[in-house]
Structure formats: C-alpha cells, structure tokens
C-alpha cells in the first residue's frame, strides 16, 4: 500500500504549489499611495498616468499616420497650428491668430513666439513651411489629399506665414486641427529620415521616451511647455486588445483612462465608485454602402426600401443600450451642418416600404448580399439588420470579410451592399465630400447625382457659415431622397476614467488631451 504519509505529502505539494504561486503577492509590488499596483515602478512622488488603448499606435510620424490610435498619442506629443475646443469650434494653437482674404484664397498666419521643439529647435515660420512641404510632397505622405488645395507656403518673416490656395477651401483650418496641422521638428526629420517615426520630436506637453511596438509608448513631462505647467511626470499608453481585460485593468488601478469601453462593460464601470464614464457623441457615422452602379441598388426605389426598413431607434437600443445616436445624415450634433429635423429617423412604415418595393419592380421583396467586417459587434449588427429587413420581405445574405479585404472590395465596387462607416472629422466637408461626390476617393457606393455634386462642391468653397449650412441641408435632403447611402447611427466615444484623474475636458474629436490632466 502506498503509505498515507506519502499521499498527504503529495497532496500538500499540489496545494503548496498553488498557494506558493498565488499567495506570495500580498503587497510586495510597486504600489502607489492608494495601495494599488502601477505598471511602472515610480520613483517617490512621481505622477504616472496610464492610458489603455484598443490597438497599437502604428506610427509616431503624423506624415504617414492612418490610425486613430496614433492620434491619441499625438495629443500629448505634438501641438498643431489649430485645435478644437470643447464646443467643437476651431481655436488657434501654435498659430497666434490668422487672417483670410475675402476671396478665401490667402491665409496669413501669425505664429506663437518662444515655442521650442523638444530637441531645442525653434518653432518659427521656416518650420511651418518645412512641415507643409513634407506633407504635400513626401512620396509616402498620407496628407497630400487634405492639402491638395494649397498652392504655396511663403515665409513673410520669422513669425508670419502666408498660405496661397489654388481655390477657396472652407475646411482648410479644420484640416489644420488634425494631422496635417501637426508641427514636427525639421531637425529631427533631417537627422532620422524614414526612421523619424521611431524618434518623434514635437512641441507638445510630453516628450517621447520609447515605444515598444505592440506593448506601450512612454512619454515624459515637457519641463518647458509653452502652454502652462504640465502636472503629470510620465504618460504610458498601453495596448489592450481585449476590451474586457482593459476594463478590469481600469478597475484594478493599472490603468487610469481607457480610450473606449465595450457596451457590455459599461455596467462594470458605472457600478464602480472609483470610476466614471465619459459618454459623448463622436463626429462619425456608421451605415450601409448601397452600390448605386449595379443591381439591385442601381434602382432608387429598392435603395429607399432598405433605407426606410431600418429601425434606427431600435437598433441603437438593442446594440448599444442607447450609447449611440440614431442617424440619417453624416452630420453630428456640434457640426456646423447638423440639422436635427433631417437627422431624426422615422420608424419603418410597412405600407410605404411595400409601395417602394412595387415601384422598384419587386412587389414580393428581393434578396441582396451584405458584406460586414469580422468583429463580434459587427456580426450582431448584421444579424439585427437581417431581422429588420426580413420583416419587410427583404432577405439579406450576410458575408463576413476581414477589414482589409472589406476596404479593398469597397474600392473595387465589387459588392451589392457593405457595412462601413467613418470615424469623422471636425468639418462637414471632411465627412461628406469624398463619400458622395461622383468619382471621389471614398465614394465606394458609386453615388453619382449631378445636383448633389454641385451643392457639395459649392459648400466647400463657401466661407459664410450660414450659407454653407444651408447648402449642406439641401445636399443632405437630396441624398436622403435618393437613399445613396443608408446612414444608421453616430457612434459614441465611451471613455472610462478613474476619478483620481482631474482636469479632463471632453473635445468632440474624442481624443484624450493630457496637457491639463492631474492625478490625485
């Protein structure tokens, strides 16, 4: 017989292993004053802010950036010529003031004085000229499209730049509140060439320390920040691809802010006394591209039938628990072009839809294939749409495509319908022109309505805000009548935050601005 002593010894070994591995953690870790662990072992009194991002920021160089996650880090690392305030209005940032000629073709910018890049280089008119040239001419630049109406940039004196436009372009200042307006150090670019993305230098409140790809970006306080005293010593952006894990890390104190919150995790944040949820409408929209150039959606009535059959209020309730706004236009609250009456959805009317199907030559309904990208949220969205349309005798075949393939399919126009939206920009033109004007870069739905083109092109050259708003109102009405694209909802920005973080102001572009943050 195997002795009882040996049995007991072995049982203790099993238990001991588990306890040894789990039980030796009590309070040995680096802790902050609240007794919670931190991701970095801070030196005494060092204030560290940890921000959780959904994905790895791929490029620290705004010239080649195409990712939202980059933009979160840029908000700490870089300044721009102009910024957006909490109302969504454009305000000067590195520019002190500006003037624009009545014909809208010449902008004169006065620059802030005494600003220095992190490497000590002075920020002046030459630096602005250098950045424009780089964004407009660099072979790999992703900013060319945004700046294609700029004809020339001239240095008037050290603090003054004159920008000549090829034609009036109302969204120009708005473009300068994003990546095209970011000022990088000319010296650093010349020094590092295409390695600049690994050695970024800006004028922002924080200085680049390191990036471990796929894991974190670390920044430290800019002691000489031109725009006030920075209170946090170190900011870490940490990548959490798993949304639930990210929320738990916010709860455990490893993270102070998270860039987005899965809807199903909202109760976990709301139920935690130490946390707060910032839920605000973003600037973007989600909807369906209906391919206007091939059957079945080259038929206006069938497009309208699908558009009218989507119950936007129900969709937002079911999928987002109310944390999204129903949409029928590209424009969100706070946008110059926002029109509440136009954006308010009507519930589907079965008789109307039946009539549209009959007019479209499909009185008994029809089938179409809808491409969606592969994420659990999108699959749910697809299923909900399928159900809604089925009630009106419209049968949807869902097909999942990986995101990259979805974009490519959209480019080529090889689809009947496709679910893809837009993250949104400050100026209405940036959320509209390239998506609805004939043959523009993001017009995957092959929308081609001459009158619409005319209105949108006129609006981008119109500097008078009231007139511009009226033009967009007309354009949005026309697009709705034609059902060129089926807008469904405006996504919310859902930031989770520890209540210890103070000084946060929400700005409608949804980016986490850290310059004024403090941590108790």
């Amino acid at each position: 017989m195997f002795s009882t002593k040996v049995s007991k010894a072995m049982l203790s070994a099993v238990l001991g292993t588990v306890l040894l591995v789990t039980g030796c953690g009590g309070g040995n870790s680096a802790t902050t004053e609240n007794g919670k662990s931190t991701t970095t072992a801070p030196a005494s009194g060092k204030k560290v802010l940890n921000i959780g991002l959904k994905a790895d920021p791929p490029s620290m160089d705004p010239n080649t950036s195409t990712s939202l996650y980059d933009r979160h880090v840029y908000a700490s690392l870089y300044d721009k010529l102009f910024d957006i305030d909490s109302e969504g209005k454009i305000v000067p940032m590195l520019a002190e003031s500006y003037e624009v000629t009545p014909d809208g073709k010449t902008y004169t910018l006065k620059l802030k004085q005494g600003v220095k890049f992190h490497d000590g280089t002075e920020f002046d008119a030459e630096a602005v000229k250098f950045n424009f040239a780089r964004n407009m001419n660099d072979e790999k630049s992703r900013r060319k499209g945004e700046l294609k109406f700029v004809d020339s940039v001239a240095v008037v004196d050290k603090q003054t730049v004159k920008i000549q436009m090829k034609e009036p372009f109302a969204p120009f200042l708005s473009v300068l509140t994003d990546r095209s307006g970011i000022m990088v150090s000319p010296k650093a670019v010349k020094e590092h060439g295409d390695q600049y993305l690994n050695h970024p230098v800006g004028t922002g409140p924080y200085v680049f320390v390191e990036q471990v790809k796929g894991d974190h970006v670390t920044l430290k306080k800019n002691e000489n920040y031109w725009n006030g005293q920075v209170k946090i010593d170190e900011v870490n952006y940490k990548v959490f691809t798993n949304g639930t894990a990210k929320v738990q890390n916010l709860r455990s104190g490893m993270l102070d802010i998270i860039d987005d919150t899965p809807v199903k995790e909202i109760p976990a944040i709301k139920g935690d006394a130490n946390l707060q949820l910032v839920a605000e409408s973003g600037m973007g929209y989600q909807g369906l591209y209906l391919n206007n150039s091939r059957p079945p959606f080259d038929n206006k009535y069938l497009r309208q039938a699908v558009d009218r059959a989507i119950d936007r209020d129900a969709l937002v309730k079911v999928l987002f628990n109310g944390y999204a706004a129903p949409a029928r236009t590209a424009f969100t609250k706070g946008s110059l072009a926002y029109n509440e009456a136009l954006n308010t959805p009507k519930p589907p009317d079965a008789a109307e839809i039946k009539d549209l199907l009959a007019k479209g030559g499909q009185p008994n309904g029809f089938n179409f294939k809808l491409y969606i990208s592969t994420s659990p949220e999108n699959e749910q969205l697809g299923a909900v749409l399928q159900n809604m349309l089925k009630q009106q005798n419209i049968n949807v075949t869902l097909e999942k495509l990986e995101y990259g393939q979805l974009i490519e399919t959209g480019d080529k126009g090889e689809f009947e319908a496709m679910q893809l939206g837009w993250s949104g920009r400050q100026d209405p033109d940036q959320n509209f022109h390239d998506f609805v004007v004939t043959d523009t870069s993001n017009n995957d739905g092959r929308i081609s309505i001459p009158k619409l083109d005319e209105l949108v092109i006129k609006a981008r050259g119109e500097l008078d805000e009231a007139k511009r708003k009226a033009l967009y109102g007309e354009a949005a009405t026309l697009l709705q009548e034609e059902a060129g694209y089926a807008y469904m909802y405006h996504q919310y920005v859902l930031l989770g935050m520890n209540k210890k973080v103070t000084g946060f102001t929400y700005v409608p572009d949804g980016l986490i601005r850290t310059a004024n943050l403090d941590k108790q």
Binding site: M1, F2, S3, S7, M10, L11, V14, T17, V18, V21, T22, G25, G26, G27, N28, S29, A30, G35, S37, T38, T39, T40, A41, P58, S59, T66, S67, E139, K140, S141, R142, K144, E146, D194, Q195, N198, V212, K213, G214, H216, V239, F240, T241, N242, T244, A245, Q248, N249, S252, M254, L401, E402, Y403, G404, Q405, I407, E408, D411, S441, N442
Partner: protein, 318 residues
C-alpha cells in the same frame, strides 16, 4: 552525437518547406497589403509606389527567392509598418513568451506530477475521482475565462497581484515575476490537467507490468517501486505530450498575452497578420518553426536518455 547531427540536417528540408508554405499562405490571404497599409485615404499614385517598394509587383517566385536569399544571411527584412528590422522585433517579443512558456510548464508539472501519481496509485478512490474530475474541469474551462476570473479575484477585488504590467526580467525582476504569476497560473492550470491525465494512464499501464509485480514481490515498498521504477517507464508519453505542449505554447499564447497585455511572440504574429506586415509574419513564423524543430530534437534526445531501448533516429518524427 552523430544522431544529433543527422537530426539537425533533417531539419533543413523541413524549414524550407515551412518557408514556402508560409510565403504562399501569406500571399493567399485576401486583401492587398499596400491597400491596408495606406488606409482609406490613399491616392492611386501612393498605392502604386508602395506596391513597387514592397516588391508586390514582382512575380511571387522572384519575391520568394529574394526573401530566402536574405534569410540565409540572417536578414529577416525590415518590418513594413514599424520600419525596424524584423529580427529586432522578434528578439524584443520572444523573451516574454519563453518566460511565459517556462512558467506555464512549471505550474503544469508541479501540479500534474503529484496529482497524476496519486490518482494512479490510489486508483478508484476519492483521491483518484477528485483529481480526474478536477482535471476534466480544468481541460474544459476556456483559458480566457479562467484568466478573466483570476484577474477579477486576485487583482480587482483583492489587489494581491497586478492585473497586467509586464516588464522584462532584466529591468525589474520582482515586478516581472509579480506580473507573470497570474498568466502562468491561468494557462498552467489548464495544461496541468492534460499532463496529469497522461501521466495517470501511462502509470496505470506500467504498474500492471510484470517487472513491477516482481519488484513488489521482492518486498520493495510501494513508494520506491512507483517513484524508482514505474515512473521512469511511464515518462515516454509524458515527455511527448510535454514537447508538443511547449511547442504549442511558444506560438499559441496569444489569448493569454492579449488578456494580460504581455508583449509576446504570439501577439506579434497576430498583430502583424492584421496589419498585413507580411515581412514580419514570414520572419516570425520561420523562427517559430525553428523553435518547434528544436523542441522536437530535445524531446528525441530525452527519449534516448529515458529509455535506452529507443534507438536514436527512430524517435518521434516531426
């Protein structure tokens, strides 16, 4: 020694085959890397220029051989999205995964051995049933769920352990070990169940053999019989399972790495696939294949040590 050399030579065609398969697979993934890299706002000119730069406009055979030529000299290429050598990226990510693998394996054997031996020796008793039942449970629980529960219990509710916060061992050993406890436990518990069941059944086979009965008849006490004689004979399938386990862990810890935010090798592969950074994917998969081949080699050598009857070269094939 000859055996090891022979085995090493054998790995060359295997790795070549892996490289061809990897290369073909990557290029079969739908979606154009240039399109993905440039995003939705690209001009046609930029798109064409990038395709040329990446060599995507060349025939696939030409692309493959130019890549292979560099690999032979140790150059895995420059990452498309990160603009740093792929070899550097891999070296940055491997340590975390190797550490996680070792930790997981340690947890697994520390639990599996005592539990497996007990279950075999006490066959049919409550100890056996409890161990087997627990093991079945352990195998059935999804590791991501277990990981999440552990985070909630150990890090959120009680704050005994950090919920994330990997730092390299060389930078801060204490913090590194603290951050590794939960991930190693979460994956190790599951793997221990697999090992424990394997060890139990293997031991039961051996215990019923003649030489064990002889040993017992000679008056050898049970503990010595089991630990001294039976266990060594029961180890062959356990070593096989362990080898497969380690090989699988080296590339397959991506879920654990994601949940605990560990910058590991598995995540690097998955992220690179999504970013269409196929230069990194090719390099990483090749390195992964080399690691698997190495693990297999070690397993084969161990066979020979455990059981001299196994003729070298006739061990587990790849």
């Amino acid at each position: 020694m000859m055996f090891i050399v022979r085995r090493l030579v054998l790995t060359i065609p295997i790795l070549l085959l892996v490289s061809i398969m990897t290369f073909s697979l990557i290029h079969m993934i739908p979606g154009d890397p240039a399109r993905v890299i440039l995003g939705e706002e690209a001009t046609p000119e930029a798109y064409a220029a990038l395709r040329t730069e990446l060599g995507l406009d060349q025939p696939i055979v030409v692309q493959y051989f130019s890549w292979l030529g560099k690999v032979v000299t140790g150059d895995l290429g420059i990452s498309i999205t990160d603009r740093v050598p792929v070899a550097d990226l891999i070296m940055q990510r491997l340590p975390a995964t190797v550490e996680l693998t070792i930790g997981t394996f340690l947890v697994a054997i520390l639990i599996a051995f005592p539990a497996g031996i007990l279950a075999a020796v006490r066959r049919g008793t409550w100890i056996d049933y409890t161990s087997t039942f627990t093991a079945l449970g352990g195998m059935s629980i999804p590791s991501f769920w277990l990981a999440m529960m552990m985070i909630i219990f150990f890090a959120v509710e009680n704050q005994w352990l950090p919920s994330s916060g990997y730092v390299p061992f060389s930078e801060n050993p204490t913090q590194n070990l603290m951050a590794m406890i939960l991930p190693c436990l979460a994956t190790g518990l599951r793997e221990s169940a697999v090992l424990m069941r394997m060890l139990r059944s293997s031991l039961l086979d051996v215990v019923s053999m003649d030489f064990i009965r002889t040993a017992k008849a000679k008056g050898l006490n049970e503990a010595r019989t089991i630990l001294g004689h039976a266990l060594r004979n029961a180890m062959v399938p356990v070593v096989t399972t362990s080898g497969l386990m380690i090989a699988g862990l080296l590339g397959g810890l991506v879920i654990t790495e994601s949940i605990f935010s560990i910058p590991g090798f598995g995540r690097l592969i998955v992220e690179s696939v999504f970013k269409r950074d196929y230069v990194t994917v090719q390099g990483a998969i090749l390195v992964s294949a080399v690691l698997v081949v190495l693990v297999n080699l070690i397993v084969d050598i161990l066979y020979a040590v455990i059981d001299p009857r196994i003729k070298a070269g006739k061990g587990a094939g790849e």
